[in-house]
C-alpha cells in the first residue's frame, strides 16, 4: 500500500515536471512571435584588432558608465563591444537590457525617477523627443555629427542623440523562388509601378503559386510600418513627414483629401488579395511567415531588415538572394515611392545630461566616437552587432542579404531617408483600425474616418 502511494506521488511529481518543462520550452522554440528574441544571436565574424588609430583620452581611465539597451538581439554583441572598449580605453560599460514586457521608455523613465539614470540609452526617436528637453545632453559639437550627414536627428535645433543604425523596410522577395516558379530570370529593378507588381503577382498565380504574399497582422506592423508610409512618402524626407504629421494634427490636411491614403490602401488591397492567410488574416502567425518565405510557400513578405534573425532561424543562408521591392503606391514610374525603399536611422543613442558626472559624459561621448571612427568600433557595429551603419565613413559591408540590399541601395541613392515622429500610441490605436480593415470588418470609408478621428483627437 505504502509503495503504491509512493509510486503515485512520484508519478504525479514527475508528470507535473514534464508538463512544466515542455510548456516552458515550448515558448523558447519560437512559437511566441517575438522578433527581438535574445536567443537569435548572429553568427560570429572575426574582428581584426591589429589596426587602431583612435586617440583615447587617458584621463577617462577607470570611469564607469552604463548603457541601457532596448535592442534585445544585440545584447550579447554590445557586451562584447564594451569588453573590447574597456581593454582599449579603460572605461567600463555595463550593458543593461530592457527586460521583455517592459517598454524601453517606461524603463528609462523609472530609472530617471529613481535617481539611477543610464549614462547612455538606446531609444526610439519618439522617446528621445519626449526626454530631450529635461534629461538629454546636447551633442551638437561632436565629431561624428559631421559624418552623420542628414541621418542626425535635430530636435528644436539641437542634436540630442546619435543614430546607431539604419533600418529599412519594403516588400521582401525571395528571388530564387520567384525564378523557379516563373521559369525565367527576374530583374527586380524592372518593377516600378503598382500595376507592374500586380502583373508579377498574377504571373505567379498563373504559374501555380496561388497566394504568394505574407502579410503580418501584428498592430506594430500595420500601424507603424504600413501606415507610417503615409507620412514618410509625403515628399520622402523627414521634414516632409513632420509637415504631414503637423498638418494632420492641426486639421490643415484631411485624410480624405490626402492622396497617399488611398494610394496606400490600393497597395494594401493588392497584398490582401494575394495574402496566403486570406481565409483567416488575423490568425496569421509571424514566425510561420519567415518559414513560408524561406521554404518557398510564399515569395513576398512585407517587413524590414530586422526580420533576418527570424528568416535565418527558418533556414535562410546569408548568401541566398533576398531583397526589397519598393512599397508601390501608384503607376507613375517617376514617383520616388515606386523606385526607392524607405530606410532611415531608427535606434538612437541618447546621453544623460542630468545625473551623470562630467567624466561619465565624456566617456560616453568617447564611446560614441569610437563606434564611428575607430577601425574596431566600425567593424564591431557591422560584424558583431549585424547592424547597417548610419555613417558613410564605415567601410564594412553588412553580412545578411537584407541589410546588404539596403546598404547597396543607400550607396546608390535608391532609398529615401524619411522617419516620421508620430504620437506614441499611433501604432496601437491605428494598428487596431488596420486590423479591422485587414479582416474585412470595415471598409475604406470607415478606416479613413478612424484615421481622421485619431488625428482630430491629438
Amino acid at each position: 500500500m505504502m509503495k503504491l502511494r509512493q509510486w503515485k506521488r512520484t508519478a504525479a511529481i514527475g508528470l507535473s515536471t514534464v508538463l512544466a518543462v515542455t510548456s516552458l520550452s515550448g515558448c523558447r522554440f519560437g512559437f511566441a512571435s517575438d522578433p527581438d528574441d535574445e536567443n537569435d544571436t548572429v553568427k560570429e565574424e572575426p574582428i581584426d584588432t591589429s589596426v587602431d588609430t583612435f586617440a583615447y583620452d587617458e584621463s577617462l581611465q577607470g570611469t564607469k558608465i552604463t548603457l541601457l539597451n532596448s535592442k534585445a538581439e544585440i545584447q550579447v554583441a554590445l557586451e562584447k563591444m564594451s569588453k573590447i572598449f574597456e581593454e582599449k580605453a579603460g572605461v567600463h560599460i555595463e550593458v543593461m537590457p530592457v527586460t521583455e514586457g517592459d517598454s524601453p521608455y517606461t524603463k528609462v523613465v523609472s530609472m530617471y525617477n529613481s535617481g539611477n539614470a543610464p549614462t547612455m540609452a538606446i531609444l526610439d526617436t519618439t522617446d528621445v523627443k519626449a526626454l530631450a528637453d529635461e534629461k538629454a545632453l546636447v551633442l551638437d559639437g561632436e565629431d561624428w555629427v559631421k559624418e552623420a550627414g542628414n541621418y542626425a536627428t535635430e530636435i528644436q535645433g539641437h542634436i540630442f542623440s546619435m543614430p546607431l543604425c539604419v533600418e529599412g523596410k519594403g516588400i521582401i522577395y525571395n528571388k530564387k523562388v520567384i525564378e523557379e516558379t516563373l521559369g525565367r530570370n527576374l530583374n527586380p529593378d524592372e518593377i516600378n509601378t503598382l500595376d507592374g507588381f500586380k502583373a508579377l503577382l498574377n504571373e505567379m498565380r498563373d504559374a501555380g503559386m496561388e497566394k504568394p504574399v505574407s502579410l503580418a497582422k501584428e498592430d506594430w506592423s500595420l500601424g507603424a510600418h504600413h501606415l507610417q508610409y503615409l507620412y514618410e512618402t509625403y515628399d520622402g524626407t523627414s521634414e516632409g513627414a513632420a509637415k504631414a504629421v503637423e498638418d494632420l494634427e492641426n486639421g490643415q490636411l484631411k485624410v480624405k483629401d490626402y492622396q497617399r491614403v488611398s494610394q496606400l490602401l490600393d497597395l494594401f488591397d493588392v497584398l490582401k488579395e494575394y495574402n496566403v492567410a486570406q481565409g483567416d488574416p488575423l490568425g496569421a502567425d509571424y514566425d510561420e511567415m519567415a518559414i513560408d518565405l524561406v521554404d518557398g510557400k510564399t515569395a513576398f513578405w512585407f517587413n524590414g531588415n530586422w526580420a533576418w534573425p527570424n528568416m535565418q532561424e527558418a533556414g535562410a543562408k546569408s548568401d541566398d538572394e533576398y531583397g526589397f521591392l519598393p512599397y508601390f503606391l501608384n503607376n507613375d514610374p517617376d514617383d520616388f515611392v515606386n523606385t526607392k525603399i524607405q530606410a532611415a536611422p531608427s535606434k538612437q543613442v541618447m546621453l544623460d545630461g542630468q545625473q551623470a558626472s562630467k567624466e561619465q559624459q565624456d566617456a560616453a561621448k568617447e564611446f560614441l566616437n569610437w563606434i564611428v571612427f575607430s577601425e574596431i568600433g566600425q567593424q564591431m557595429l557591422v560584424k558583431t552587432c549585424n547592424l547597417i551603419p548610419a555613417f558613410k565613413n564605415n567601410p564594412n559591408e553588412p553580412l545578411d542579404p537584407l541589410s546588404r540590399d539596403i546598404f547597396e541601395k543607400v550607396q546608390t541613392d535608391r532609398t529615401y531617408n524619411a522617419a516620421a515622429v508620430v504620437p506614441n500610441d499611433h501604432w496601437s490605436v491605428l494598428g487596431a483600425a488596420m486590423q479591422k480593415y485587414l479582416a474585412d470588418r470595415c471598409d475604406r470609408e470607415e478606416l479613413m474616418d478612424a484615421i481622421q478621428n485619431y488625428w482630430d483627437e491629438q
Partner: protein, 290 residues
C-alpha cells in the same frame, strides 16, 4: 507595567511590518492619488496642479468604459465557472477513490505556470493546434483561429483563465472538504439527509469559509487580469479584448497620459475594493459553526 510591555511588544513585532506596509503600499498609494490631480507626464520635474481634469478626461475615454464593461463580463464568467468547476472537482477528489492525489497534483499544475508563458502556450494551441484540427476534420468551430474574432477571443481568455485558476481553487475547496467533521456528516446521514438536501443544508453552509476565500481570490484576480491578457490576445483583434488593467497600462505608458491612466487605475481600484468588500461581507455572514 502592562502597557509598557505592550508598547515594547508592538515595537518589536508590529513596527517593522507596519513600516514596510506603509512604505511600499500606503505611501505610494496616497502619492498615486495625489498624482491624479497633477499634469505630471512621468518625466518632467514640475508637477502642476490641475484639479479634476484627469477624471474629466477619464469620463470621456470611451475605450476605458467599454473595457470596463468587458472586464465585468469576463469577471462574471470566470468567477462562476472557476468556482462551480473547482467545487465539483474538489467534491469528487475527496470521495476517496483511487488515484485522487494524482489528479489533485494534475489539476494544480497549470497554476504553477506563469501567466505570460501560459498565454503564449495557449496562443499556439488556439492559432495552430486547433486550426490544424479544424483543417483535418472540417469542424467549423476550429476553422479559423479563435483569437481572430472578438467573441471567440473573449471565450479563449475565459477558457484559459478557468484552466489556470481552477487548480488553485480546487486546492482550497479540497482543504475545506477534508476539514468537514465526519461526525456531522454521519449525523446528517442518520437523520436521513442525502444527496442534494445534504449538500444544500449541511455541506454548503459548512463550506462557506472556503467559498469566501475562493470568491475573493477569483474576483480580485479576474478584475486585475493583465498577464494572460497581454500574452494570449494582447488586446487583439483590434483592441476588442483589452481588459481594464491593460487599458490603464496602455493609457499611461503607450499613450503617455499618465494622469488619466492613474485616475483610471484609482477608479478600477475603488470598483474592485467595493465589490470584493461587499462579497466578503455577504459570504462571511453566511458562515456557520458546526
Amino acid at each position: 507595567m502592562n502597557t509598557k510591555r505592550k508598547g515594547k511588544d508592538f515595537c518589536i513585532f508590529a513596527l517593522p511590518g507596519l513600516f514596510c506596509f506603509l512604505a511600499v503600499v500606503i505611501v505610494p498609494f496616497l502619492y498615486g492619488v495625489y498624482l491624479t490631480l497633477t499634469d505630471w507626464n512621468g518625466v518632467s520635474s514640475v508637477k502642476n496642479f490641475v484639479g479634476l481634469k484627469n477624471f474629466a478626461a477619464m469620463a470621456k475615454d470611451a475605450q476605458f468604459w467599454s473595457s470596463l464593461v468587458l472586464t465585468f463580463k469576463y469577471v462574471i464568467a470566470v468567477v462562476v465557472l472557476v468556482n462551480v468547476l473547482a467545487f465539483l472537482i474538489a467534491y469528487l477528489l475527496t470521495r476517496g477513490f483511487k488515484g485522487q492525489n494524482f489528479f489533485r497534483a494534475g489539476f494544480f499544475t497549470p497554476n504553477l505556470i506563469g501567466g505570460i508563458v501560459l498565454g503564449y502556450i495557449w496562443q499556439f494551441v488556439f492559432s495552430r493546434v486547433f486550426v490544424s484540427i479544424g483543417e483535418a476534420t472540417d469542424w467549423n468551430l476550429f476553422e479559423i483561429s479563435w483569437l481572430s474574432k472578438p467573441n471567440t477571443a473573449f471565450a479563449a481568455m475565459v477558457l484559459v483563465t478557468v484552466w489556470q485558476l481552477s487548480g488553485y481553487m480546487i486546492l482550497i475547496y479540497v482543504a475545506g472538504f477534508t476539514g468537514l467533521d465526519t461526525e456531522v456528516m454521519e449525523a446528517a446521514s442518520i437523520d436521513g439527509a442525502s444527496g442534494w438536501k445534504k449538500m444544500k443544508n449541511i455541506i454548503l453552509p459548512l463550506m462557506m469559509p472556503s467559498i469566501t476565500i475562493c470568491l475573493f481570490l477569483t474576483l480580485s484576480r479576474a478584475f486585475m487580469v493583465y498577464d494572460v491578457n497581454l500574452s494570449l490576445t494582447g488586446g487583439a483583434p483590434y483592441g476588442s479584448t483589452e481588459m481594464a488593467a491593460m487599458h490603464v497600462y496602455e493609457k499611461a505608458f503607450t499613450s503617455r497620459q499618465f494622469g488619466t491612466g492613474q485616475a483610471e487605475a484609482i477608479v478600477l481600484f475603488l470598483i474592485v475594493a467595493c465589490i470584493s468588500g461587499i462579497q466578503v461581507y455577504i459570504t462571511k455572514k453566511k458562515e456557520v459553526a458546526a
